[in-house]
């Protein structure tokens, strides 16, 4: 099995390197995952992790501004980065012969950034533009407000985007200080997937990273108030209704979810797939197909290091109304909580997961990302590697307990987005359909329903 070949090595300075040899396309994926993100931030510097992510492309002692990306592009590759609540990751994909180029560039910017004041201000403008892009999307904007209410006083309440008042006032000195305290080998994981022996990867990575010093400055501590958000008594704010400049009514339901490494995480993922994964899912079958209450329905678990959200969303027409969709959705979740899932559904989920895994393994980038995420957010990359085994060992009875524990009505948060402009006549067809359904319909083959 491909993933059996994953190897790891920790350097004297604390840097962990995880490597996997993968044959196939002659490409290399090099990623560096830093254990820092928006949940480490404090008031006044909300958005600094994201700011720092941007500055990582804006020049070091050895590599001028934007030159990292250009050097990667010049060899036929691509690079990117993202900031999340618990981690900030930098990704590079290059043709096989440029493994050392990518590692050298990442090693350089781990401790070599220069924070040129002019470039700092230019990048601030870019981040403000990015901020406006989100704020001009009414659904994204409403969801950001919803998540703040959902997480309450938890460090995850604000998204990595931060606060505009902080983004416009963060100083280069503050950013430099944050960098020194967060970006160091003892706070990072390097992941490499490529068509090279792992020994070669360790040798090359060792050459470029061994001389890096572990942090001498005091590390940014993780927030100490990662409380269980289920314990937060917030009856007010559990239901949010917003009129937005968007033409489709949307319902979002969120439940507090366990941390990604929790023993319930795998079970919750199975439940989510049964409830909302594909056209044969419970919600699609009942709420979309049989009862025609929603036009589209879906769900996902967003599990982070300390907690998360298990969510469901539906788009529907104004003639239906959010309350009916919500009631139908809840009914299906209650059925799962009361009756569990069937053996056939379990078998389906296993097959879906296995097929997804097989197709994931084609891409060095994907594998790298999965390993990096699992190692830093879940705490151990083996949790991802062994996920299929974990599925095999799940007891159907346990799933009912997990569903009851996490899909708890008392902890539910609801967001309803109503179009600012709503003309029921636009949906007259829907009304007619609902009336005609009372009298039965026939399909093209002449069969009656």
């Amino acid at each position: 099995m491909l993933l059996d070949g994953i190897a790891e090595k920790t350097l004297a300075n604390g840097l962990k390197i995880i490597a996997l040899k993968k044959t196939g396309a002659p490409v290399v994926s090099v990623q560096v995952w830093y254990n820092t993100g928006s949940s480490f931030e404090t008031d006044g510097v909300r958005g600094i992790s994201h700011f720092l992510e941007h500055m990582m492309f804006r020049g070091s002692r050895q590599v001028p501004s934007e030159e990292h990306a250009r050097r990667i592009n010049d060899v036929g590759g691509h690079c990117n980065a993202f900031t999340a609540e618990d981690v900030t990751a930098f990704t590079n994909s290059v043709p096989r012969d440029f493994l050392e180029t990518a590692l050298a560039l990442e090693a350089d910017r781990m401790d070599g950034l220069t924070f040129d004041p002019r470039l700092f201000e230019t990048e601030r403008s870019v981040i403000v533009e990015e901020y406006h892009t989100y704020m001009n999307n009414p659904v994204a904007k409403a969801f950001l407000e919803f998540r703040t209410g959902f997480y309450g006083n938890h460090p995850y309440a604000l998204s990595p985007l931060g606060r505009i008042e902080d983004i416009t006032s963060i100083s280069a000195d503050a950013c430099r200080d944050y960098y020194r305290r967060s970006y160091a080998p003892d706070n990072a994981v390097v992941v490499v997937v490529c068509d090279a022996d792992v020994k070669e990867v360790f040798d090359v990575a060792g050459r470029h990273f061994s001389e890096k010093n572990a942090r001498s400055a005091r590390a940014i501590p993780p927030a100490d108030d990662h409380r269980d958000i289920r314990d937060q008594n917030r009856d007010a704010g559990r239901r949010m209704v917003r009129k937005v400049e968007f033409d489709v009514p949307v319902l979002v339901i969120g439940y507090p979810a366990p941390p990604s490494s929790h023993e319930d995480a795998v079970a919750l993922e199975i439940l989510q797939l049964v409830a909302a994964g594909g056209e044969t899912s419970r919600l699609h079958r009942e709420v979309v197909r049989r009862r025609s209450l929603a036009v589209m329905i879906g769900g996902m678990n967003h599990l982070l290091k300390h907690t998360g959200m298990s969510m469901f969303f539906a788009a529907f027409t104004p003639d239906v109304g959010a309350a009916r969709v919500e009631a139908a959705l809840n009914r299906e979740l209650e059925r799962i909580k009361n009756d569990g899932i069937t053996q056939e559904e379990m078998a389906k989920v296993k097959n879906m997961t296995l097929t997804n895994r097989i197709f994931e393994l084609y891409s060095a980038d994907n594998i790298c990302q999965r390993i990096g995420y699992s190692e830093t957010v879940e705490g151990n990359y083996r949790l991802w590697v062994e996920r299929l085994d974990a599925l095999e060992n799940l007891d159907l009875k346990k799933l009912v307990e997990v569903a009851k524990r996490w899909w708890n009505e008392e902890n539910r948060y609801v967001l309803v987005l109503e179009p600012r402009r709503s003309n029921p006549l636009l949906y007259i067809g829907g009304l007619a359909r609902r009336v005609s359904g009372l009298f039965g319909r026939r399909d093209a083959q002449g069969g009656a329903r």
């Binding site: 044959t23 196939g24 396309a25 002659p26 490409v27 492309f57 501004s65 934007e66 990306a69 250009r70 592009n73 010049d74 060899v75 036929g76 590759g77 691509h78 994909s93 201000e121 230019t122 990048e123 403008s125 870019v126 403000v128 533009e129 990015e130 406006h132 892009t133 001009n136 009414p138 400049e245 968007f246 033409d247 489709v248 594909g278 044969t280 079958r285 197909r289 025609s292 036009v295 589209m296 788009a315 027409t317 056939e344 389906k348 296993k350 097959n351 879906m352 997961t353 296995l354 097929t355 097989i358 197709f359 084609y362 891409s363 067809g429 829907g430 359909r433 399909d443 093209a444 083959q445």
Partner: protein
């Protein structure tokens, strides 16, 4: 790889790939949205999507069950001149799912209630896009560029989708979803003889002829420069698209133009647009140009967003860079880097059987031999600045630009007037 034709004239490519225990089957039909009859835009996409909702023998629910229980996924992609329907699965499922997929292509159910549901879903998706600034800008750009007589200017609307009936879908299916002219690619963890046997056994029964020819959009006539302002009051940023028509895939200088486009705007941080408007000025989170080509027709377009107050400055910067580019062309150093990117990046375009299938479908539709990939480096390498700059001067020009900007009128109108006479729209107006 095996290349063969069945007796129903369906062309087949079988690719044995043993990297993972998977299989992808994809059928490309030489018909796309350009063949939608006027006022029925969306018909091709609706037809392609409806095929996936069951067969004559297997109703939609049972069809979905059989696929999803095996962990398989059906996919569709309706483009301008061709559409693709496919299935991804684990290789052991081939014996049960490939016959089902083949039956879906040949004898789909096309049921009334599935049609109604799908139509509603497509209308809802369109409504969701209707207020997105970038979608609005693109829609208006194409409407101005192509008008309503050229297929590129006729985009689906709620009205056009509502006009479509199940009879239209069945008729479109009978006219265009046929084996002759279509291409099936089977790629995955089976031996070549097995792939050939499966294709022959399951796709040979697919029959039908119609004599109807799908639309290949003609080249666009150059239209006068124009500026459209689409008013959306709640926006703090303006999204705009600017560009013009250009040649299509058949243009012999296509690769030269692609290299030029990489240098100008599609090379991410390496591009001139990003260097000036983002890296140096900080006026945008992202800006890019693209060359979007069909057989005989193409579009060159630049797109970005910026705060309303900066629209004039950003548009001026874009046009200055474009004029300079069209006049002076590319440098030798830029071209070297662009060629290295193009050659190096090919490895990523072939990573995994999904990408291999996509590449084969693209190659074949535009009449390129399989050796195109092996010889790609030889094709790109000799292109010098003379060749690329000749192509730039011949096909790229700042003289007939169409600009479509979506933002708050009160703030952006004064800035737009310097670029030409402004046509005004409200974001709810038909493009």
């Amino acid at each position: 790889m095996d290349d063969f034709e069945l007796d129903n004239k369906l062309k087949v490519i079988g690719v044995a790939d043993h990297e993972q225990n998977s299989l992808v089957a994809a059928v490309q039909l030489p018909v796309g949205r350009f063949s939608d009859p006027p006022e029925f835009e969306g018909l091709c996409e609706l037809t392609a999507n409806l095929l996936t909702k069951g067969t004559e023998n297997v109703p939609a629910d049972a069809f979905a069950e059989e696929c999803e229980n095996a962990g398989a996924t059906i996919f569709t992609d309706a483009g301008e001149e061709y559409c693709v329907l496919g299935i991804r699965m684990r290789a052991p499922s081939a014996s049960s799912l490939l016959p089902l997929f083949a039956e879906m292509m040949n004898r789909p159910r096309l049921a009334d209630e599935e049609f109604v549901r799908l139509q509603r879903e497509m209308i809802t998706s369109l409504r969701a896009e209707a207020v997105d600034p970038h979608s609005l800008a693109t829609r208006h750009f194409y409407a101005e560029l192509a008008g309503d007589k050229h297929p590129a200017g006729r985009l689906e609307t709620v009205r056009s989708l509502k006009k479509i009936t199940i009879r239209d879908v069945r008729s479109f299916f009978n006219d265009y979803f046929l084996p002759e002219g279509a291409l099936c690619v089977l790629a995955g963890d089976l031996e070549r003889p097995a792939l050939k046997e499966l294709a022959t056994a399951h796709f040979s029964p697919w029959r039908g002829t119609s004599g109807k020819k799908a639309v290949i959009a003609p080249p666009l006539r150059i239209r006068p420069a124009a500026v459209r302002l689409i008013d959306k009051k709640d926006l703090t940023q303006t999204s705009f698209v600017v560009g013009h028509a250009c040649p299509g895939e058949k243009c012999p200088e296509k690769n030269a133009l692609l290299l030029a486009n990489y240098i100008f705007g599609s090379g991410n941080f390496s591009s001139r647009l990003m260097a000036r408007l983002r890296s140096a000025a900080g006026k945008t989170y992202g800006i890019s140009s693209q060359l979007s080509t069909e057989t005989d027709f193409g579009v060159f377009m630049i797109a970005t967003s910026t705060q309303n107050r900066d629209l004039g400055e950003v548009l001026t910067g874009v046009l200055e860079e474009y004029r300079r580019f069209c006049k002076d062309g590319v440098t030798a150093d830029e071209l070297e880097k662009a060629k290295r990117f193009a050659i190096g990046n090919m490895a990523f375009q072939l990573e995994g059987i999904g990408n291999v299938v996509d590449k084969l479908l693209w190659l074949r539709f535009y009449g390129r031999p399989n050796s195109y990939i092996e010889k790609f480096e030889e094709t790109i390498f000799p292109l010098d600045t003379t060749a690329v700059n000749d192509a730039v001067r011949r096909y790229l020009s700042p003289d007939h630009l169409i600009i479509a900007a979506v933002g708050k009128r009160a703030e952006i109108e004064p800035q737009l007037t310097r670029f030409g006479a402004v046509k005004h729209y409200h974001f709810r107006d038909k493009a």
